[in-house]
């Protein structure tokens, strides 16, 4: 795999201040989910602003797709069409008088032709689940809807990398989970996603890799388990480990659980505690909602008559219009796996690349020593 983003010995200081970033070097492979984690003032936002050339390093180099950024007008346009930045405050990002014109802003400024702009805007608004909101002015939207519009505005530019600064800040937990689901959907469609956060729970459950930043220095770049089980690192970065890992390390100290097997999620933890699951293991059924209409989906749900979960904006919307009540709307795969361990079946209604994600997550669980759960695609 090729490196999509590369920082080499990057140092940067705002005028008259100590360095915000100090000799930072890392590489990110295409298709990864990366979380930049650190306390307030660690330099997270500064680092993100460097990804699209808004800030120029005092020394060192930033490379996107292996090419360095040219800090002239043409060069910056090029890098900004590749790297889309979603700001923390949606009110700063959404400046046009209606949802449609805001999402169309990027494509129009890339000088695409009218038909292409229209199709991209339509697709982006559809992807974030806001079809029908095109004419609304932004001040008639809720916080979560504004965030979706902000993301759609970046999506319409079809970037290779989507960079989001604290995407879940000031959103309620359910809305935050939906936004994270949306980012997962985009990731399944092939976008590399980088987000900054100080929410360790979120970073732990979502990311493939973590970049731990504190005081402008890169403390560690590695897998989530590696970073969050290292007490020294956590202390240096003024962060607390995720609750699940905390529990795990305590249980290890009491010699209840084996060492060196930090659980990725609750199902892994259950597996560790239980040892092996005897008896009846449930099945996870997955259905591609793009192949169903309201009528046939209702028929399918009635036929299966088991736990129901939906992933992805499109699928959730279809379930809503079809009047199907869902048992799980976020953290769906983990909840389905837990149900399976209890011997219950679950039907996951989803679409596109998310279908493969279910199989992938279950396989990952199995590889980490978990019980085999059957995933059946209908």
């Amino acid at each position: 795999m090729s490196d999509i983003l590369e920082f080499e010995n990057v140092t940067f200081a705002y005028a008259g201040r100590p360095p915000s970033l100090n000799d930072v070097s890392f590489k990110i492979e295409r298709g990864k989910k990366l979380a930049i984690v650190g306390p307030n003032g660690a330099g997270k936002t500064t680092l993100l602003l460097m990804c699209n050339g808004t800030l120029q390093p005092d020394s060192g180099e930033v490379r996107v797709n292996g090419e360095h950024i040219h800090y002239d007008k043409a060069g910056l346009r090029k890098v900004r069409s590749k790297v889309g930045l979603v700001f923390q405050n949606s009110d700063s990002q959404i400046f046009a008088p209606s949802v449609y014109t805001d999402v169309a802003f990027g494509p129009a400024n890339l000088h695409l032709d009218a038909a292409e702009i229209e199709s991209r805007v339509h697709d982006a608004i559809f992807a974030v689940g806001l079809s029908g909101y095109e004419k609304r002015p932004p001040h008639h939207l809720s916080g979560g809807e504004k965030k979706r519009v902000a993301i759609a505005g970046i999506l319409a530019m079809k970037p290779d990398i989507l960079v989001a600064d604290e995407p879940t800040a000031s959103l309620d937990p359910a809305t935050a989970a939906e936004i994270m689901d949306l980012l997962d959907e985009l990731h399944e469609d092939g976008t590399t996603i980088i987000l900054s956060t100080h929410d360790v729970e979120l970073a732990y459950s979502w990311a493939d890799e973590v970049l731990l930043l504190a005081g402008g220095k890169l403390l560690h770049h590695g897998t989530t388990e590696e970073v969050f089980t290292d007490d020294d690192l956590m202390l240096k970065a003024r962060l607390t480990a995720p609750a699940l890992l905390n529990l795990y390390t305590e249980l290890v100290k009491h010699e209840i659980l084996p060492d060196n097997r930090p659980p990725k999620g609750v199902p892994e933890m259950m597996q560790l505690i239980e040892g092996s699951f005897e008896g009846n293991i449930g099945t996870i059924y997955t259905a591609d909602t793009d192949k169903y209409d309201e009528e046939s989906l209702r028929a399918l749900v009635a036929e299966k008559n088991c736990n129901k979960g939906a992933m992805g904006t499109r699928s959730k919307k279809l379930c809503f219009t079809a009047g199907i009540s869902l048992d799980y709307t976020y953290g769906v795969i983990d909840k389905a796996m837990l149900a399976a361990l209890l011997g219950q079946d679950t039907l996951i209604l989803t679409c596109g690349g998310m279908l493969d994600r279910v199989a992938y997550r279950v396989k990952m669980f199995e590889e980490a020593g978990g019980t085999a759960i059957k995933v059946v695609r209908i």
Partner: protein
């Protein structure tokens, strides 16, 4: 930051349906049954009706304009009566003050009622001053009611397109769109700051009031500045190259509405001509 909180506040206010909450007029316009009438036609109707009403030498034409405009706003555009009445209090207050001054200060014609005399200056109502005061009041109302008709039926977003069709400079339209968008953001900021001040006992005495209000305005200025920089950053991050699209509107059969508006305006011109002749 606190985005949800502003929204929460403004939503709460909208439920109360007072004209002093920032987005009631915007809400009305967006959900208006007359939204589908092309904005340019409504704009022409509003401006033409106002101009014709002001040209009229008699009160009958302006009276006809404001009565029809009130009818159109209440029955065609389905604006709740209470909101419309509270909207009318604004021109009523200004119009009445002006009319009262005109009533006593201007003169000529036959004296109807002479109150008293100060240093040889008669405080009195004459038939001419009465006519002038009534005429000014009627014209004010005609103009305001026409403007309100436009306001409650036409979202600001659809007027941008009209500005574009009128070949206004792109910079002017872009600025107008940005200003429109951020009026609501800054009202939210102002409400937040104001709440924070009131919570900690601001505005209790006159002296407090002055210092708290000056803090609010200066804070708002700084926030405006910061927001401006944030917008610039965000525009550049999306490859800003001088293009902002204008919002599109789907409109109904424009010929039908154009005919109705044309008929109405012709009627006004006929009344005007009759007034001039008779």
């Amino acid at each position: 930051m606190g985005g949800g909180f502003h929204l929460h506040l403004s939503k709460k206010k909208a439920e109360k349906q007072s004209i002093f909450s920032e987005d009631v007029l915007d809400d009305l316009a967006i959900s208006s049954p007359l939204r589908k009438v092309p904005a340019a036609q409504k704009l022409i109707l509003c401006i033409a009706a106002t101009v014709i009403a002001v040209l009229s030498p008699e009160i009958w034409l302006p009276a006809f304009v404001f009565v029809t405009m009130i009818f159109a706003s209440l029955y065609l555009a389905k604006v709740p009566l209470r909101i419309y009445l509270s909207l009318l209090t604004i021109p009523l207050a200004f119009g009445l003050t002006g009319a009262v001054v005109l009533l006593f200060v201007t003169g000529g014609g036959v004296t109807i009622c002479d109150f008293f005399t100060i240093a040889g200056f008669h405080i009195q109502i004459t038939d001419k001053s009465l006519h002038l005061a009534m005429l000014v009041l009627a014209r004010t109302f005609a103009g305001m009611c026409s403007l309100y008709f436009l306001t409650v039926t036409t979202p600001v977003t659809s007027l941008f397109k009209v500005l574009g069709d009128m070949h206004m400079p792109q910079e002017f339209i872009d600025l107008t769109m940005l200003i429109y968008r951020y009026i609501f953001v800054f009202i939210g900021e102002a409400i937040d700051i104001h709440n924070a001040q009131v919570m900690r006992g601001g505005y209790s005495t006159l002296k407090d009031w002055i210092s708290a209000f000056s803090m609010l305005t200066s804070m708002l200025f700084i926030r405006t500045w910061e927001k401006g920089e944030a917008i610039f950053l965000s525009m550049n991050s999306r490859c800003y190259d001088g293009i902002m699209l204008l919002p599109e509107e789907d409109t109904g059969k424009s010929a039908k509405y154009a005919a109705i508006i044309f008929a109405y305006l012709s009627l006004l011109v006929v009344i005007l001509a009759l007034e001039m002749i008779l």
